[in-house]
Amino acid sequence: MKRRDFVKGLAVATVTAGAAAGQQSGSQAQNPPPAPNATDQGTMAVQPSAASSSRARSRVEEMAHFHTPNIPVTQPDLLATTDARYFTAVRYATLVHLCEILMPAGDDVPSAIKAGTPEFLDFYIGASPADQQAMYNDGLDRLNADCLKQCSVPFAKADAKQADSVIRPHLRGWMNDHPPREGHVRFINLAHRDIRTATINSPAWAIAAEASGERTPGVGLYWHPIDPGIQTWVSHAVEQATPTNKHKHA
């Protein structure tokens, strides 16, 4: 045992003696420290009631060299589904049909509906800021209203020609971060972008690419959280540590 371990051992003895003198009762007495040979140095450093041993040290060194076994994992989308719960039934039916119209199946790729895009957008918009939600709710309502007015059918029941008559007038070319500003035109163009993105980036499209012998689409350099620490839930230690003033002492 090295000198510093020996010193910690003495400290443990001191604390234990204090507890034995009646400062602690109950749990500590009922739950004695684990056996020394089961405790590593790290545990001992943060829990002085534990002790150290060469066996514990070698165990933690062994664990530090442990390599993660290769266990294949599966994406949930491949087996499970998401129930739509944000949009009203009418709005959701409108969204589903909009997905089908804007992004039907291609020769080698599934449609937006097969890619689970309506369910994904129901979830995503449901979790989005209020202005984004309002744009979708108003836009889907307007699309349905336009179809009822012009074609006397709800959008969800519109055929391709009827749907085209309420979509095409609002399509614009745009670039970068500047979609059209006018309300319904903005919705049509942004919903189109969102439906394309959610579909092209779906697991279903990745499987289709793999099946047709293409390389995995959309591979990028992902940044994990960088040393995320505890910054979001420790609040203002300095402020909390403001010395008690004389009045409070009194």
Binding site: Y124, N176, V219, Y222, H224, I226, T232, S235, A241
Partner: protein, 523 residues
């Protein structure tokens, strides 16, 4: 443990903090560097992943980074989270404050465009009467520019244009593609120079403080790096009135610590630097601290298609390459409706066409995308904005960050100068594109909010006159001679240029001045 007084304390580890550390340590001066964020570990922190395996299919968490247009689900964890580090702008005055907190600062994501300012910028007041001149000229900075360009391995073409000063380049002798040559020729007819881009090659795909500057400082054995150290105050010796160190908060535990220093260099990035000076209630005898915030407008542009390149018929050499149009307005003549000028990034793509450009859907869109594939041609503006006194920041003591430190209010807005400049730009580019035989498909006159370019400058500008500026021509505080500011907060005007090379040249020059003053015992 006894407290140590360090020789030079550098706050911030981005390009200018890194440059200061490199220059000073190579002269034998010990430096201690604090960064508010963690140390990066590129092997551990990054991973190649397909987008379909990300939680939000590439959209990122809803509402997570509303001001960071550059963010994607791939890189969202790299940017500062506004929930821990909030700031305020009036709803009618949007401001995108784009921040990174990790060792190296924003330098790992630098776009690497590498330009010198010209005397049209350094002596801008002499030229058009707006604002102030810098207390330095191109001649003063030229030797430092050359050394910075060598470190960053800047590639470019020597053009001999006074508004686009040549430098110490790895000469770009590549020929223009056919489409680009047509655009060059269209520019010549109306006096618009189209030149080769200039950018830093760096090494290993990066031109950051982390790989080009800090390793040299580390090699001297004179650099001490402390990550996760959020400086909340620069402390002042009451007897001398000089800076004597800092108070910082450990990012994880929130424990406050103090560190004494002989010299302090603030390199926290323009607005963080100014925030820290305000928090410390120092360096504002001029009343200029926090004012004259400026940057560049981005986002407006045109998208075209080169007809001969459609349907897979592009002959070899027709497409590809980029170009840079340096400022050409308000040089020898005056433009109607705006001061200063803009530059243009030009791109000729033989890759996929942007689906947003095409107003079609379904199978028709697929057919159009196939047809237009490899025919794209686009331009983007980099326009100088004017640093008005009213564009300013203040401390917000009511809203604190996750460490209890007051945050910033940012008040800035663009004016008719930027709007008129953008209109001139779009109309000129569209005319050139049409003259070159391209189909102009989208014209976007709308530019991004202030801050978007991540080129925030000013708020602690330099001046020979202590009543007009925060630092002198050596980046040295007028109020305390042992405090230097090395980042773009000292800029007097923005120019159209990406500021990084100028920031580094100024930081190099200031550091050599500081080293000499320390040697003489003046600091």
């Amino acid at each position: 443990m006894a407290q140590k007084k360090v020789d030079v304390l550098i706050i911030g580890s981005g390009h200018t903090g890194g440059m200061a550390a490199k220059i000073l340590t190579e002269k034998g001066i010990s430096c201690t560097m604090l960064d508010a964020g963690p140390m990066l570990n590129f092997e551990k922190d990054r991973e190649l992943k397909p987008v379909n395996e990300l939680p939000y299919r590439g959209f990122d968490a809803p509402g997570r980074l509303p001001h960071v247009f550059q963010a994607s689900e791939f890189n969202a964890n790299f940017w500062v989270d506004e929930k821990t580090s909030p700031y305020y702008h009036p709803p009618e005055q949007p401001y995108n404050w784009v921040r990174v907190r990790s060792v190296g600062g924003r330098s790992p994501v630098w776009g690497r465009q590498s330009f010198r300012l010209s005397d049209y910028e350094f002596k801008s007041k002499d030229h058009d009467g707006f604002g102030e001149n810098w207390p330095v000229s191109l001649k003063d900075l030229a030797p430092y520019y050359s050394r910075v360009e060598e470190i960053f391995r800047v590639t470019g073409h020597t053009d001999g244009l006074p508004q686009y000063p040549d430098g110490n380049f790895i000469e770009d002798k590549s020929p223009w593609s056919g489409a680009m040559q047509r655009f060059v020729d269209a520019g010549k007819k109306i006096g618009v120079p189209v030149t080769k881009p200039r950018s830093s090659l760096g090494k290993d795909g990066m031109a950051a403080s982390l790989n080009l500057l800090l390793p040299d400082a580390v090699a001297t054995g004179k650099l001490t790096m402390i990550p996760n150290a959020i400086v909340r105050q620069i402390t002042v010796d009451k007897n001398t009135g000089l800076a004597d160190g800092v108070l910082f908060i450990d990012r994880h535990s929130h424990r406050e610590m103090k560190l004494k220093a002989r010299v302090v260099i603030v390199a926290a990035g323009t607005l963080e630097t100014t925030r820290l000076l305000m928090l410390s209630e120092i360096c504002n005898s001029s009343g200029a601290l926090g004012h004259y915030l400026t940057d560049q407008i981005y986002g407006a542009g045109i998208i075209c298609s080169v007809p001969e390149a459609r349907d897979g018929k592009a002959p070899h050499g027709l497409m590809g390459g980029g170009a840079l149009i340096p400022r050409f307005r308000n040089l020898e003549t005056k433009s109607n409706g705006f001061l200063r000028g803009y530059a243009v990034n030009v791109s000729c793509s033989n890759g996929p066409f942007d689906s947003r450009t095409l107003p079609f859907y379904g199978k028709e869109l697929d057919q159009k995308l196939e047809s237009y594939n490899g025919s794209g041609f686009s331009t983007n503006i980099m326009g100088e904005t004017l640093g008005h006194y009213e564009n300013h920041v203040t401390l917000n003591k009511q809203v604190v960050d996750a460490w209890g430190i007051p945050t910033l209010n940012i008040y800035t807005k663009y004016t008719a100068n930027e709007t008129n400049m953008t209109k001139d730009y779009i109309d000129t580019m569209a005319a050139m594109a049409e003259a070159a035989g391209f189909e102009v498909m989208v014209k976007n006159y709308e530019f991004n909010p202030p801050g978007y370019s991540i080129h925030e400058q000013g708020t602690a500008r330099m001046s020979d006159d202590p009543k007009k500026g925060v630092v002198n021509k050596w980046n040295q505080s007028h109020d305390m001679k042992n405090l230097f500011i090395s980042d773009a907060s000292v800029f007097v005007c923005a120019g159209w240029q990406n500021p990084t090379i100028t920031m580094c040249a100024l930081a190099m020059r200031a550091s050599e001045y500081l080293a000499e003053e320390m040697r003489k015992g003046n600091v």
